[in-house]
Point group: C2
Chain length 196, copies 2
């Protein structure tokens, strides 16, 4: 007991929604603690020559992903809506998440953002949506000010750098010790390792 | 009972190896029959602008995949070697598989090819390797002649066309009724649907 898992997620990522909604409960059942690590996939995709989400660039892959998400959410009893546009701009949400992390509220805030986007079809670059997410997470509205500090902006750049150094190329990703796991499909395997 | 699953695979595909080794047993346990559907990913990748496997084109993705395969094979007690070069040319193997399908031996032959490649590091474009795979599958050596018939070559083109029409963009893929599933991670979900 007492293991730890790093959860690397991008707010615009559909499969990150699946992991965000279940990771805390699944980790707790194994005595594992979760370290929420928001980052941006945009810069990492750009280095691979991708100008948008691969789900937009490769239509067959995109069409499949939406059906796969529909099926998985139905199995798990999760609401699901396809956000428009996709992918959403998760920059402000990611900065707010880092500000929330300073006061211990990152998990609740992140879940609220994922639910607003993929559960209710809200636009997560919208300041009103984010203000509601702070409320839902019982966090002070003033975090929106803190999120605009140079220190937080710099911290988000550092997150992207660290993700790159960890070999992360997609989201969600999980890090346990030296092992990297990619995709909601590997969450249970990662947690199992963290628990040993 | 009595359901059916189409198993679409490419011989060079690492994750297809995982599914090929377990699909018959898993399907049988649910009373589902397996329709083995070899195809080539090369033409489909080329249409997406990819000149090689995405695991070669995107190094972080490739490095992750090899480690993921190592871990998964270890968990399942499967031997695993990284073939050199990767990806292998699966053209002859795919033609032979279609020839084997005509006489009811496609599953055994395909498993032998995957095991030779990913279990023993053999080169599957090599005629000697393929001749051994025919032996292992207890199939006549003369299939190598049938595999060069224009009819078989044409049948493989038709497989690629059909894969494209089914929306297939990677391997392994599974088709049950109108539903497409991608990846060894979805095999159980696909079988579950086939069994209902």
């Amino acid at each position: 007991m007492g293991g730890r898992i790093q959860f690397w997620y991008e707010f615009a990522s559909t499969y990150s929604y699946l992991s965000a909604t279940r990771i805390e409960e699944a980790a707790q059942a194994l005595g594992v603690s979760v370290d929420w690590q928001p980052f941006l996939l945009g810069p990492i995709f750009a280095e691979q020559g991708w100008t948008s989400s691969p789900f937009n660039m490769y239509p067959a892959k995109g069409q499949y992903m939406w059906r796969d998400m529909e099926r998985l959410c139905a199995r798990r009893g999760l609401p699901f809506q396809q956000p428009d546009p996709f992918p959403q701009n998760g920059l402000y949400a990611a900065r707010l998440a880092l500000a929330a992390k300073e006061i211990g509220g990152i998990g609740a805030f992140s879940r609220a953002v994922f639910s607003a986007q993929f559960g209710s079809g809200r636009t997560i670059s919208d300041q009103d949506t984010l203000a509601e997410c702070l409320q839902i997470a019982k966090l002070p509205a003033e975090l929106a000010v803190r999120a605009q500090d140079a220190e937080i902006k710099q911290a988000l750049f550092a997150q992207v750098d660290q993700a790159r150094q960890l070999g992360i190329f997609g989201a969600p990703s999980f890090v346990v010790g030296d092992e990297l796991f990619w995709g909601d499909d590997r969450l249970d395997q990662a947690l199992e390792l963290a628990a040993t």
